[in-house]
């Protein structure tokens, strides 16, 4: 997508500042309704999920102790994968958002929760809650736009490195928790600084992350397999843990990609965001910068209700079990203010997000202007852009865009 301010028709052009403030007031009212009715049943819900998750994880790990038997391996691995997904998505992510702080239970609180992930709770809360949720989809401010390793917006300049981004994205999906940990540390940026000049803060955070990774790995790849030695299941148990971690990683990566990367999700220009952005303007940005996944109750649970990404971005601190309830009201507001409520099934959103990753791995306009007949010339051009300097790239890019525009007008 192109930042909204550079699109032919800005999707917010029809809204006056007064409209936007009114929209904010209506959204505040939806939030207040939930705050007013939040209570015992919500508390019972999260405690139930925590309880089920812990029993499922423990049960699955117990079954895996005998994982030398294939049925036990399959059962245990499926159970452990589901348990790890629940722990990260419906519990960890949401607890760390402060969605359950209102219960005043120190055991289920954003300030005390630590999750089953390579990234530390503190690192995650900073990069996710603070940066991503505040500066959502602002190119150059929200690092979630491509995590600093991918180009997911036309307005991020193309360089040859991005040709490999479908591969990066796949590898990142498999080892997502480490990707997040590196991302939370701003590893790339910090490693570029000479060792002696790196900030104490970074060094401290890196130490904490490494310690966490060590503990996580010790549990999954040493202690648990060792407990399985009596049945001769060391290796199967290790493999089961590895598989469950990959399943969890690929799943959470897919869900998160669906939240902001599908085609049609809007992005924003840094300079178009006023210093004193109003609450209404902030809400509007969240509305356009997120996409929902439609599906069953179980699917919503397994995504940690991030399938209601739009509602989550509007109200990140409302309990996740209430997003389904506010969704129709939010959708009605989209209709009322003539905005596009971005929602599709999981396969459709995953496809769309991957399509964007592939499309933007290539220079703007390249895919659109390529046909079976001109493929050789196009490939030659791509080769030139890849091997040539910035000047060559700029010239070729201008030509590609001109052609793409011509095609568009013709169509």
């Amino acid at each position: 997508m192109t930042v909204i301010t550079k699109q032919a028709v800005n999707p917010t052009a029809h809204l006056t500042p007064a409209d936007i403030e009114l929209l904010g007031i209506e959204l505040d009212a939806i939030r207040q309704d939930i705050l007013d009715s939040r209570g015992e049943s919500d508390a019972a819900y999260i405690r139930k999920v925590v309880d089920v998750q812990r029993k499922l994880e423990l049960g699955s790990r117990a079954v895996l102790i005998a994982s030398i038997f294939p049925p036990a391996w399959v059962l245990g691995t499926v159970g452990l994968s589901v348990a790890k997904i629940l722990e990260n998505m419906e519990i960890g992510h949401n607890v760390m958002h402060g969605q359950w702080d209102w219960m005043r239970d120190s055991k289920i609180h954003s300030t005390t929760w630590e999750w089953d992930n390579a990234s530390t709770a503190d690192g995650w809360k900073h990069s996710h809650n603070e940066i991503h949720h505040t500066y959502t989809n602002i190119v150059g401010k929200d690092n979630d736009l491509g995590y600093g390793i991918m180009r997911v917006d036309e307005d991020q300049r193309w360089i040859p490195m991005y040709l490999a981004q479908p591969l990066w994205n796949f590898i990142n999906a498999c080892f997502f928790e480490y990707g997040i940990a590196a991302y939370d540390l701003e590893l790339g940026k910090n490693l570029a600084v000479p060792k002696e000049k790196r900030s104490e803060q970074f060094k401290e955070n890196a130490r904490k992350t490494l310690r966490k990774i060590r503990k996580q790995a010790t549990k999954d790849y040493l202690v648990h397999p060792a407990l399985s030695i009596p049945t001769g299941s060391f290796l199967p148990t290790l493999a089961a843990n590895f598989t469950a971690n990959v399943v969890r990683n690929v799943w959470s990566h897919s869900v998160i990609m669906c939240g902001h990367f599908p085609e049609g999700v809007e992005t924003f220009e840094k300079k178009s965001i006023p210093d004193n952005e109003t609450r209404g303007e902030w809400y509007l940005r969240q509305m356009l910068g997120s996409a929902n996944i439609s599906g069953s109750k179980f699917m919503h649970l397994m995504t940690g209700n991030l399938s209601h990404q739009i509602e989550h971005h509007l109200f990140p601190d409302l309990p996740s079990n209430r997003y389904a309830e506010v969704a129709p009201k939010v959708k009605a507001l989209f209709d009322k203010y003539d905005l596009h409520y971005h929602e599709a099934s999981l396969p459709a959103q995953v496809y769309s997000a991957w399509h964007k990753v592939v499309r933007l791995s290539l220079p703007n306009g390249w895919l659109a202007t390529t046909t079976p007949t001109n493929a050789p010339q196009q490939l030659a051009l791509l080769y030139k852009m890849t091997t040539g300097g910035p000047k060559v790239r700029r010239a070729a890019q201008a030509r590609l865009q001109q052609q793409a525009r011509r095609l568009e007008t013709a169509a």
Partner: protein
């Protein structure tokens, strides 16, 4: 290897097997009352004493350290999903079944007391603190005792009496209990107290303020000295409303009589517009009702944790030890009584009265 060292090693392995949780978090799922768990209790009986009062018999966790009759404890209950803490007197001496009990009088608009009297069910878990307080009888007992109580002020005293009267060797003491309540039917433990009196265990004087009026401690004709002729020979223990206790204190001081008081601290947090915010390091910041505590504190030079500054990221959360704050987005009030430590978002909260904030964080 000594057992302690072995256990310690086992625990380390168990912790390593469940990281980032600790083994205690997992055990909590199955055995919340075990030794080593945060102190909790399970309600095993709810007994209604009067129309507005109920006794909860609670099986405390293994780490309950015991108590002396007259002491109180902090109780944390989830009311509408929110954990609130209050203090109640223990109304039994140590019991053979190891259970403890509290007796709660539902006060109008009392969020917690109404919940405890009317909505708590057998089987529910509640959070507990250890027993505290020095309103206890000495050992050996003074030969002559005067117990003065009013309303729910009977609760620590009933614990003392039950303990005294249930001992294998009966206690030889001359006890006068002067109890004041709104009416005869409002007397908590009325039947039990009258039973003690009938059995000759104590002399009971009931004052029902609907017919007798309020006790006027120093009154020359209707005062304490008239009701209890040998007042000068007695050691007095008293628990009740502030007015009564103040009057007793004045009277006994004037006459040089021994007196032990238990004051129920009803933590009345003054709600205002703006106020002072005091930090652990001694800094006190003056703020108005429209300025977030975060901004006010930073302007005064306090190094605060912060994040998005719009109430989204929860990066600025600090415990409010005491006081009241108002959410600047919707005006919602959050009140913390001393000892509570309610986590608040400082970026969208303004002071609504004098506040005490725990910062820098005492622990990670």
């Amino acid at each position: 290897m000594p057992t302690a060292a072995l256990l310690d090693r086992l625990r380390r392995v168990a912790d390593a097997a469940v990281t980032p949780l600790e083994i205690d978090d997992v055990l909590d799922v199955f055995h919340p009352l075990r030794s080593g768990a945060p102190l909790r209790g399970r309600v095993v009986e709810v007994r209604h004493e009067t129309a507005d009062a109920a006794t909860l018999v609670i099986k405390p966790g293994k780490d309950w350290a015991g108590h002396v009759p007259g002491q109180y404890l902090r109780v944390g209950v989830d009311v509408d999903g929110v954990r609130l803490w209050r203090t109640y007197s223990l109304t039994h001496g140590p019991r053979p079944d190891g259970c403890i009990s509290i007796t709660v009088k539902a006060i109008p608009d009392g969020t917690v007391s109404q919940h405890l009297v009317r909505r708590v069910r057998v089987g529910q878990l509640i959070q507990l603190g250890q027993a505290e307080g020095d309103f206890v009888l000495p050992d050996p007992l003074p030969a002559k005792l005067l117990l003065v109580t009013a309303g729910s002020g009977i609760t620590p005293v009933i614990g003392m009496l039950r303990n005294l009267f249930s001992r294998a060797v009966p206690v030889q003491a001359d006890i006068v209990l002067l109890h004041s309540a709104l009416s005869r039917s409002e007397v908590i433990f009325g039947e039990e107290l009258r039973g003690y009196a009938a059995a000759g265990l104590l002399r009971l004087v009931e004052l029902h303020t609907d017919v007798d009026g309020v006790l006027d401690v120093a009154h020359p004709e209707r005062g304490l000295a008239t009701i209890v002729a040998d007042l000068a020979e007695r050691t007095t223990y008293a628990c009740g409303p502030v007015g009564l206790l103040d009057a007793l204190e004045e009277h006994h001081t004037a006459h040089g009589l021994p007196l032990h008081l238990e004051r129920f601290r009803t933590e009345l947090i003054a709600i205002g517009e703006g106020g002072t915010v005091a930090f652990a390091d001694g800094t006190v910041v003056e703020t108005d009702a429209a300025t977030p505590i975060l901004d006010a504190a930073e302007s005064a030079g306090v190094l605060m944790p912060s994040g998005c500054r719009i109430g989204v990221c929860f990066g600025c959360v600090l415990p409010l030890r005491e006081g009241a704050v108002r959410d600047l987005r919707n005006g919602e009030l959050t009140v913390a009584a001393p000892g509570d430590g309610v986590a608040i978002q400082t970026c969208i909260s303004a002071a609504a009265g004098a506040c005490v904030i725990d910062h820098p964080r005492s622990s990670a």
